[in-house]
Symmetry: C2
Subunit: 357 residues, 2 copies
Amino acid sequence: MTALKNDTLIRALLRQPTDYTPVWLMRQAGRYLPEYNRTRARAGNFLALCKSPALATEVTLQPLDRYGLDAAILFSDILTIPDAMGLGLYFAEGEGPRFERPTQDAASIGKLHVPDPYGELRYVIDAVAEIRRALAGRVPLIGFAGSPYTLACYMVEGGASDDFRIIKTMLYKEPALLHRILDVNAQSVALYLNAQIEAGAQAVMVFDTWGGNLSHDAYREFSLAYLARVLASVKRDHIGKRVPVIVFTKGGGLWLESIAGCGCDCVGLDWTTNLADARRRVGDQVSLQGNLDPMVLFSTPQIIREETGKVLASFGDGPGHVFNLGHGISQFSPPEHVAVLIDAVHELSRAYHHDGD
Amino acid sequence: MTALKNDTLIRALLRQPTDYTPVWLMRQAGRYLPEYNRTRARAGNFLALCKSPALATEVTLQPLDRYGLDAAILFSDILTIPDAMGLGLYFAEGEGPRFERPTQDAASIGKLHVPDPYGELRYVIDAVAEIRRALAGRVPLIGFAGSPYTLACYMVEGGASDDFRIIKTMLYKEPALLHRILDVNAQSVALYLNAQIEAGAQAVMVFDTWGGNLSHDAYREFSLAYLARVLASVKRDHIGKRVPVIVFTKGGGLWLESIAGCGCDCVGLDWTTNLADARRRVGDQVSLQGNLDPMVLFSTPQIIREETGKVLASFGDGPGHVFNLGHGISQFSPPEHVAVLIDAVHELSRAYHHDGD
């Protein structure tokens, strides 16, 4: 495969010196871009877009054509795995994802299987390969999956939830059932990420969107332990290149030390954690990714530059920072403000990378 | 007024020795109780219930008649203040609270006034006095208010929000407008809490429900600074008795040291913070309230006892702990499980209070 022309992201994830701080945005290929909405309309709906390697490739590259981003991220959804398990993923208009057949009892949980990445999930692996070819080495491609616990939230609740009452009832009342789901999910996520790496993903990220809603103790037992199991099974080298792994537990700032010890190379942080504090807490153990409040993009170019500068200053000198938002970009963000952000990161971050100057 | 027969809550809030750990539950007078639903049906709706001192007194006392709770909390709503400002509070069926006239521009913000607790909010103060009389010293009465920032969220967004896009756009783009709202809110909250104290509230709590959604820096500037202003104005002694103040920022565990320094006597914690860690971080500065995951109430009596025991053990020996849930009790909680929880706190906590044994 083509060598990388811009390996800044990979170097920063591995805490190696770079000339500037690399930047990409969670959900960078998304509804805030008019060209994305046009492709999605052609596909018919979100799921059809995910399931077409050609269209997934098209939208993955769209933000790279607009902005000087330092990474591409596979266009897909974290719920492809439970969908491949046969739970029947669908998107109700104006609502989040839902499953037709949630897994709430021993019978349905007993029947859960680990999907074959080259079977039911072939369309994702094909998309990874096609995106990688289309990128032709411009920037690295990030693959991803949902965390075992976050997938379980959707599988058990049947969709998003305000209080996670169903899964937490299972967690406290019938923990063995939940452990069984998490075991299947951890195996599935590891196989899936490894297939993405084989197909060309040069870094991978695990999104633990709902782990932050667990209690301190339950997080360790039901989310972090399974993240660690995934990480222990994920290939960390492919064709002589190190494949860095990012773990992001939204709302997990309190547990940063534990997350940094789970085997990942980089910890994603939402905007509630100060990066200087975070760096003091993790030392040299991992790199850090984040953490501008996505709502800053609704201010003005000048304020976006100032707030970007504050995030860069809070991390401070030296390698190990990947700039990102603290959560996915809002669909209402003005695309021209994203350009201001990306340019500001590249320009203002040079002051923090002195090596060899 | 009658002397307190059970002052365990007040003593624990002030870090004085007690025989056991006192317990009350956020939203303890609420929809999980059949008798509450009957009174609410008589009132017609939630707002009518809040606005009737007689019915508010009735529902405030209902959980005390069922359980051995160590405190009563005024039955009311945090949005009484913006309602009294004329924003038009209403509750759409099956949805959260909404305002007919949100304050999103300089003109409407310029017109905001500080409500007179003895004018538009008289019904709350009357309820406090009536509840206090009805309690006849059984347990202390906790008064409360929303934090200036949390009230502003509802006032600007017009209701609850997933992303707080409107208020955060104001925060980043026109911070002076938001500061104007927060200034009015801080004055309003302080006057309101002082009137509750004059009418008989023996402790007060400020609920910062949405502050945890701010960035690390924005929390300090837009929520904590105004909490500190409220606390600087709230009467701390009334008729020779100390009136403890509890501050609870949901999702604020990362910022515990800062919150503990805002002038409060006690910091409320949600279930994501380990109490042993929290205690190490705040030392002798404040007492701590919390922090069982409310979803534990959906398990079994045995598991409720075990999880209660874990929370008590995590705080450990000595005074300064008020047991509570980490958030309001769910409307779906089985009432008989609440009895198990209250009894478990009282029984199991005696081992951690050795003084004089």
